[in-house]
Symmetry: C2
Subunit: 307 residues, 2 copies
Amino acid sequence: MEPGAEKPNTPSSGDVIVHNPHLETMKEDILYHFNLGTSTHNLPAMFGSVKFVCVGGSPWRMKSFIEYIAAELGLDDPKSEYPNICAGTDRYAMYKIGPVLSVSHGMGIPSISIMLHELIKLLHHAKCKDVTVIRIGTSGGIGLEPGTVVVTKQSVDANFLPKFEQVILGKTVVRSTDLDEELAGELLRCSRELNQFETVIANTMCTLDFYEGQARLDGAFCSYTEKDKQDYLARAYEAGVRNIEMESSAFSAMCKMSGLRAAVVCVTLLDRQKGDQLSGTVHSFQKRPQILVGHFIKSQLKAPGKS
Amino acid sequence: MEPGAEKPNTPSSGDVIVHNPHLETMKEDILYHFNLGTSTHNLPAMFGSVKFVCVGGSPWRMKSFIEYIAAELGLDDPKSEYPNICAGTDRYAMYKIGPVLSVSHGMGIPSISIMLHELIKLLHHAKCKDVTVIRIGTSGGIGLEPGTVVVTKQSVDANFLPKFEQVILGKTVVRSTDLDEELAGELLRCSRELNQFETVIANTMCTLDFYEGQARLDGAFCSYTEKDKQDYLARAYEAGVRNIEMESSAFSAMCKMSGLRAAVVCVTLLDRQKGDQLSGTVHSFQKRPQILVGHFIKSQLKAPGKS
């Protein structure tokens, strides 16, 4: 497998870019895992107003985010409910209020990748413009107080390299995991304004596995010692990594290819240098990325010239 | 990355094997993504009777399976409900009736891998013996009539090789994806007894992606032609591949390492040589792996000397 390299187009118009000439020739596009489609749903009417898409692993968390952001934006109605737009499937959950779409993506790169293919096509079919996509998630920290929020500078792989490997027809293609630096800076500024919790900009390691892939000692299999684990985490720290999760590389690569302004905002649930096990007590931290991104969206909508 | 090779232990006692010396030193083991733990739950009492574990991507399908198997085994009570044992989390859903456990695993290798680490530890903590694990799923077929069920002979990667690559501390370790041949043969025999739908034993290709990774022409990105796609699928067919899905390689490798008798039974929802798009009309096929595995479990429980 000789890694190749692709050059994604640079967006100019604010359009959501698909790179697939076959889509134009299709009479209908079924977004199967959303239970939506171009001939069964009026996607421009349903989604044309979307400017911010927030995505996260857990469907419950993405429902709680839409309730939170509705209240923050003054768009909530005490009587209103937020129906799951993907109610016909259990693969993903999707909620919308005003310009904000909230979508779950499950755990791991393959799961978020299916969701993003269909989300990018959805935004394209709906003729959305100038869309910002933010992943709000959870992660393990390295050398940070648990509860610290990390805004990702670069998403790196298990060898601390900023790349995402996509297998196409059996061959590996390497894609860039660059994120929008200006957006990361704006999010950091929002956190300082809020002054409720610590936020840092740092590298995020993205792995294909939660146990052996993240050097945990508490999986069903573990062939390395505590010292091997600590050495690996120390090397990650030296490479600027401050948290570990399982979706940011595919997320960064796919958003970049589509011309979407993108950021990754994950709270650290524990310090991996001090342990591996997660407990129910970490739940309270999960709100922090929502609070930060909620503040950001509010500030963007208030800014002059923004819709 | 120099691929290494590991030799999994051969099971002798019917025990569920964990390969992790650190587990013995832990006072408590929190199975975080199940919302279960050794100090909060009596795992031997809850799960000690489990002999068959059926896993599949969709939580709804795994609930429907427990209702189906309860009726098949005559264990259903019209008034009874089947509570989700993992009700405290939305990561996975789990149901139990008699000796049968039904667990969802989401989409993709990372998602099933988290679930299997915690399932293997759960079965180990519960002191289960002689457990059979079967994945009942959906897949795209190659050269088969849609609705055909494929019992996996070998799970192969995107280059049609029977291996699973696990990254540990940044290094790639290669694991075998062998499945239990005798179990596959028994499942084929059950399908012939049932005589309701076509079933074949064949190789299954396991990919990290649903769109570009499976040569689909209908994703947000597609850099190859229809001919490239057909050539790739033809090469897969020549290598004995008859269906494509996204979990079988990690499933096979992890079950083998734990000494679990394992099989993969997936229905094909479409023939990929004839198209890429899935529609709602394929839902009726999803019951077929349940019917086949239900018949198998019934026959096993009836056989002399089986509990």
